[in-house]
């Protein structure tokens, strides 16, 4: 009965889910699907991997309950964490055993299916020493839902020498509010890569994930945002380099047709050998658009190397004319430049995930050739 209902739902919402990389015959090592507060799918098919609802994990593993749950994200951080701490936890717990490296990604999707509803999610990712995993998260609404709120708490533990590639695709609607709160602990010599893409309108989205990076570890945040309508994005990332020779890279690309995008990024270097670099670039397509970039660097030791580049501007008329001289219409030329601007050449993510991001960009940018 459950399977039949699941099949119906997935069939009805097929295109919405596929847009965020869920299903569609893509290779995966596990799947997790939540609609509103119901877990519709939770399965895994790789040895050394476990994907279960977080409520089950809290019961099953005292460590999850006592050490991981609301540890990197504090319960009283803001009104959304307080809301989540008071709610029955809905979300996934993903665990990879030490030394296990898995190529095919975990697919996870969170769908808001009730108009005016508030979805509260809490996810925990727990990678054992020397393990490796790719996760493709997608968030979207049902095709009939235009209003609502999504609150998402995510706590990520990347143990010593482990590697996590965490890709998030947001596909919301123009009257949806979204408040993710994310904390990441990158242990010694571990690697964390976050790829984030939001290519559709949203009423308000506020996110400022923070990674604490230990010795020899690295955190990379890559984000692309395409703002439309009256979207309000307040998006960024913060990397706190706690350990010796730790590193961070933050690349943010914003294209705005309309609305406000605040892009706040911060790297803090606290000890010897820390290296960090950030690039915040914005492309304004219309007078209705505002992009406010806030790149911040904080050094607390003389032996560190932190840098940033930031630029906000319009498409160069010289570049447009140049491409049009090759036979492209103005719209095609603009599209090529915008897509190029958003192509941040993310390294190390599975080709399939790269293709999904590319497709998302193509669909979002008018006049794609």
């Amino acid at each position: 009965m459950q399977d039949k209902r699941l099949d119906e739902i997935i069939s009805n919402e097929n295109s919405r889910l596929e847009e965020i990389g869920y299903g569609g015959g893509l290779p995966s090592c596990g799947n997790f699907l939540v609609m509103d507060a119901s877990v519709l799918e939770s399965m895994y098919a790789a040895s050394g991997l476990e994907i279960i609802p977080i409520s089950d994990a809290i019961e099953k593993y005292p460590r999850v309950r006592d050490e991981l749950y609301f540890s990197l994200v504090k319960k009283d951080k803001n009104e959304y964490t307080r809301l989540a701490s008071g709610a029955r936890p809905v979300g996934y717990y993903i665990r990879v055993e030490p030394g296990v490296k898995i190529e095919d990604p975990v697919q996870a999707a969170f769908m808001l299916a009730s108009t005016g509803g508030t979805q509260v999610i809490h996810n925990i990712i727990d990678l054992g020493q020397g393990s490796g995993l790719n996760i493709l998260n997608g968030c979207t609404t049902s095709c009939q839902v235009f209003q609502g709120k999504h609150v998402g708490i995510t706590e990520v533990y990347v143990s010593e020498g482990a590697s996590l590639s965490y890709t998030m695709l947001h596909n919301w609607g123009k009257d949806i509010e979204v408040y993710p709160v994310t904390g990441i602990h990158v242990e010694k010599n571990a690697r964390f890569v976050s790829n984030y893409a939001a290519m559709t309108a949203v009423k308000k989205l506020v996110a400022y994930p923070t990674a604490w990076v230990e010795a020899g570890g690295s955190a990379r945040f890559h984000s692309i945002i395409y703002s439309k309508n009256n979207s309000h994005f307040d998006m960024g990332a913060r990397a706190v380099l706690k350990g010796e020779d730790s590193g961070a890279e933050i690349i943010s690309r914003v294209v705005s047709e309309a609305g406000i995008v605040i892009s706040r990024q911060m790297i803090e270097g606290l000890t010897t050998g820390c290296k960090g670099h950030m690039e915040c670039s914005g492309l304004l397509l219309d007078e209705k658009a505002v992009i406010h970039t806030i790149p911040e660097l904080k050094g607390a030791h003389p032996d560190i190397n932190l840098s940033h580049e930031a630029a906000v501007g319009r498409i160069s008329s010289k570049e447009l004319s140049y491409l049009m001289a090759r036979g492209l219409t103005e719209e095609e030329a603009r599209s090529l430049i915008i897509r190029g601007f958003l192509d941040i050449g993310i390294e190390g993510i599975p080709p399939r995930i790269h293709d999904i991001i590319e497709d998302t960009i193509k669909k979002s940018v008018r006049g794609s050739v």
Binding site: S316, S317, K318, E319, S321, Y322, L323, M324, A325, R326, G327, L328, T329, E330, E332, A333, L336, I337, R339, G340, F341, L342, D343, V369
Partner: protein
């Protein structure tokens, strides 16, 4: 009727008139070289033929393949078969050269054959012109024209800022595009080459040369003779002709 016929063309940039009444034509399969000192209006002529922004046509007409293109947008002129190798092509950050070539190619050619000929193979995955040297930019321009296959090539100072080795590579490719190995009557593509040094003529043959000074075409003739004269006397003699022409057009100095 020629492939391109320009009549009485006047072009301004801002409030400044640069071309002051140009008559010019080129036949199918022919190559014309245009000489002129800096600021004489050579690049303006090319910009006006292709319809680039910033060049305001105030009088005259441009007929290409029998159609008046004076008011057509740049991409339509390009699609009709006009291709320009820019003197100073801009860098386009984020757009790979191979992506552009895929979008503009006119046929099923193997990009790698052309890119190898121009030593551009290792630049295909790089952003267009970003960090390219002068020679690499010129080679990239010619590669784009090879793929685009225009019927009329506009080459704006193809040899400027380029070393001998690169001029040789570029001209070899241009001779191929322009079918210089075929007899004249069988050539289909035409070219207008702008140069103020004439070095490119050591590597390519032109059928006609015209001299443009102060927004006027002062005359056309044998490329080798005109080049020899310019090399011997500079543009000073041309400037004298230009002053005569200005006096004629404005009536200055005429007795009343």
């Amino acid at each position: 009727m020629g492939l391109l016929d320009i009549k009485g063309l006047k072009v301004s940039a801002g409030s400044h008139e640069i071309l002051k009444g140009i008559d010019f034509s080129i036949e199918e399969g022919r190559t014309t070289v245009v000489f002129g000192p800096n600021g004489s209006g050579k690049s303006t002529l090319m910009g006006a033929i292709l319809g680039l922004p910033g060049f305001n046509i105030t009088a005259g007409s441009i007929i290409f393949k029998g159609r008046d293109i004076t008011a057509l947008p740049v991409h339509e002129r390009s699609r009709m078969g006009i291709g320009l190798a820019f003197q100073y092509p801009p860098a386009v950050k984020g757009v790979r050269l191979s992506t552009l070539l895929d979008n503009i190619k006119n046929g099923d050619e193997d990009l790698h054959t052309y890119s190898e000929m121009l030593n551009m193979d290792q630049y295909l995955d790089r952003d267009i012109n970003l960090g390219f040297s002068g020679g690499e930019r010129k080679r990239s321009e010619i590669l784009q024209l090879m793929v685009q296959k225009p019927d009329l090539l506009l080459l704006d100072e193809p040899e400027s800022g380029v070393d001998i080795e690169n001029i040789s590579i570029i001209s070899r490719a241009l001779n191929l595009i322009l079918e210089k190995d075929k007899p004249l009557r069988k050539r289909k593509r035409s070219a207008i080459i702008i140069t103020h040094t004439g070095y490119i003529l050591d590597y390519m043959r032109a059928d006609t040369a015209c001299v443009i000074v102060g927004g006027y075409i002062l005359g056309c003739g044998s490329p080798s003779e005109i080049l020899a004269e310019i090399r011997e006397k500079g543009y000073s003699q041309c400037m004298e002709c230009y002053r005569d022409m200005v006096r004629r057009d404005t009536g200055a100095g005429q007795e009343t």
